[in-house]
């Protein structure tokens, strides 16, 4: 669909306003670069008029400007490259540029339209413009849409986190010492007899390290130490291939410490769910994005921001992690049943083949997909892209996640239909690298028929999905 005339968007107002963007200089350069490229390439279609059920795939097939195909090939071909954050350096296509510019304009407004932001972020947040942290914070509701409120909100939340840390991350020795320092003045302590029998003093509230009392801080501390150990083990195992998260460098160690602190505080504040293995994986991309914020102030406070955003994000998914709810309408089994139903609606043949013919129980593969929000199925940069999509959908990440999972199944349908139980299971548990844009395009096309799905799942819910 090649237009000969100058397309409308070229005459749009965004090119004429002076770049009043207060964020990094990359925004201005990308705007001017995009203006340049715009003149060089003739676009194939109206790029930014994207509806959610649009007809054009985002990847423009004809006539492909060479950088575009190169970019796509690189993404397709490279499953093993992890933690590499700069991939779009070969010159993105024209509509990419303009879309990115629109996104950047949107975030630099004083009063951000969240709906508009969602629509734009849905297509992907540019990696190198450094706006992803801000966009995610807006989408998760951490930052209010009104830019003028940001400093006060941030300061409030960050100091709240600091208080949480001082309250919850102390060991009992510290606590007893603080209690005493507040009860007795310091001068009395240091004037002990230089020689002589040491004076014995009473202990407060029967608090001693071997105390077995239920309310004893020491007892509680030892009971929690098991969870702390597990958190520690999992944090050390997060993304072992990324320098950001693992290795001997001080940077990695401090990042691990931050992850650990966040998880410990979360587990103490949420005694109902404590810590479940896998929460570290959900936390990792969030922390990575916030920590690599080009803004210095935000990087320093990344831990606090991540904690609140994690709580927000996790709120939608916590039922999946709660073991008691496993068999109920809210738990993981029911979510998997919904996925199964979704697949049945959109691709009955595949559904039948998977569930009936080869008897691949969706729990074998979908469990990890759903609980970990797909963080273990793709390489890191793809995860960020998928999360852009998940977070930006106004229907909420849970529904979008199911759509993406369904899309994942549909994309490999040929292999699945041709395969038997073993090969299908193997394929789904080690999902092959794929073009993320295409995957998300398919996901967008899957309209989640929510009402019907819920009604059906009531009848399916307590029975295993067959």
């Amino acid at each position: 669909m090649k237009k000969k005339a100058v397309p409308e968007w070229l005459n749009s107002s965004i090119w004429s306003t002076s770049p009043a963007m207060n964020s990094t200089t990359t925004t201005t350069t990308s705007a001017s670069a995009s203006a340049d490229l715009v003149h060089r390439y003739s676009p194939s279609s109206n790029p930014y008029i994207y509806d959610d059920d649009d007809v054009d795939p985002p990847a423009p097939p004809p006539p492909p400007p060479p950088p575009d195909t190169v970019r796509r090939d690189v993404r397709d071909r490279d499953p093993g490259r992890l933690g590499d954050y700069d991939r779009d350096d070969e010159g993105p296509s024209a509509e990419e540029i303009s879309r990115q510019a629109l996104l950047l304009t949107e975030v630099s407004k004083k009063m951000i339209n969240i709906g508009e932001l969602r629509r734009l972020a849905c297509q992907g947040v540019p990696d190198n413009a450094g706006v992803r942290p801000m966009v995610w914070k807006l989408l998760l509701g951490y930052l209010p849409p009104d830019r003028s409120l940001w400093p006060s909100e941030l300061a409030k939340k960050r100091s709240h986190y600091k208080n949480l840390k001082t309250d919850l991350l102390v060991n009992p020795s510290e606590i007893t010492r603080r209690l005493e320092d507040s009860l007795y003045s310091d001068s009395k302590e240091s004037k002990g007899p230089p020689i002589g029998m040491l004076k014995r003093s009473e202990i407060a509230h029967g608090e001693h390290p071997l105390s077995l009392g239920k309310s004893s801080i020491w007892n509680k501390y030892f009971q929690e130490s098991e969870i702390l150990e597990q958190i520690d083990r999992d944090v050390k195992r997060t993304h072992p291939d990324m320098i950001f998260f693992s290795g001997d460098s001080a940077y990695a160690k401090s990042n691990q410490d931050s992850l650990r602190n966040i998880l410990i505080i979360f587990s103490k504040l949420n005694p109902g769910i404590r810590y479940v293995q896998g929460m570290n994986e959900v936390l990792a991309p969030l922390f990575y994005v916030f920590k690599t914020d080009p803004d210095e102030e935000n990087t320093a406070a990344a831990e606090a921001d991540t904690f609140f955003c994690f709580t927000e994000l996790f709120g939608g998914f916590r039922d999946n992690f709660c073991q008691q709810l496993d068999n109920s309408n809210m738990g993981i089994r029911s979510t998997i049943a919904r996925l199964s139903q979704l697949l049945k609606e959109h691709d009955e043949e595949l559904w039948r083949h998977l569930e009936v013919t080869t008897k691949v129980n969706p729990q074998f593969y979908a469990f990890r997909w759903i609980t970990l929000l797909l963080t273990m199925e793709f390489n890191f940069s793809d995860i960020l892209r998928i999360w852009d999509f998940l977070l930006s959908d106004p229907e909420g990440p849970q529904e979008t996640l199911l759509r993406v999972c369904c899309a994942m199944l549909i994309l490999v349908r040929r292999h699945l239909i041709a395969g038997d139980f073993t090969s299908n299971l193997k394929l789904l548990q080690h999902y092959p690298p794929t073009n993320i844009n295409h995957l998300l395009y398919v996901a967008r096309r899957i309209i989640c028929v929510l009402q019907h799905v819920i009604l059906d799942s009531y009848s399916l819910g307590s029975v295993s999905c067959l």
Binding site: E189, M197, R200, L212
Partner: protein
């Protein structure tokens, strides 16, 4: 925050059958990082029991110990403190604080843990602190029959030590504590 258990002079099986039940219920594995034992266990089963509480075990030899290969004295460093262990029957007069202070200066430690008298003491002099955890079973000593079972748990945190003294008096466990800090000029002689 390092928890160090100091106990000794159990004299199991010769003078006492076992630790008091109330002590045993408190001593569970997983809480204590180090154990210092002054000696006179006396036999291997006690050693194994202490090993289950904590793998890091330091023992010095008492005169009735059946295991002859424990050292006479031992030193170790925990956090900012140097600790020394010695049973104390070698130091004459038994339990004399000045003589023990001499031993402490010889070993060059901040805290010296000794036993043999079966009486709890905590004594501070210029060279440091001497702690005697008493007898964990309340076994009679060479000096007296009137012995209360006792042991000591030290919470070492930076330059500060909180010593929790656990004593079984009339069938009830009484816990007291002693607080002291290490000043950096203590060992500047």
């Amino acid at each position: 925050m390092v928890l160090v258990l100091a106990l000794g002079d159990m004299h199991i099986p010769h003078r006492a059958p076992d630790l008091p039940a109330k002590f045993k219920s408190m001593l569970v594995p997983g809480k204590i990082q180090h154990i210092i034992c002054t000696g006179n266990l006396c036999f291997k089963e006690v050693h194994d029991y202490l090993k289950t509480l904590c793998p890091d075990l330091h023992i010095s030899r008492g005169e009735y110990d059946e295991e002859t290969r424990y050292p006479e004295t031992k030193t170790l460093t925990i956090g900012q403190f140097k600790l020394g262990v010695c049973h104390g029957h070698q130091v004459i007069p038994w339990g004399d604080l000045d003589s023990l202070a001499m031993l402490q200066r010889q070993l060059d430690v901040d805290i010296l843990v000794t036993g043999h008298t079966h009486q709890f003491t905590a004594y501070k002099h210029e060279g440091g602190v001497v702690i005697n955890p008493g007898s964990a079973t309340g076994a009679y000593s060479s000096i007296t029959y009137d012995v209360n079972p006792s042991f000591v748990l030290m919470d070492i945190d930076g330059f500060r030590v909180v010593v929790y003294v656990y004593e079984l008096i009339d069938g009830e466990v009484k816990v007291d504590k002693i607080d002291f800090k290490k000043t950096t000029t203590t060992n500047a002689h």
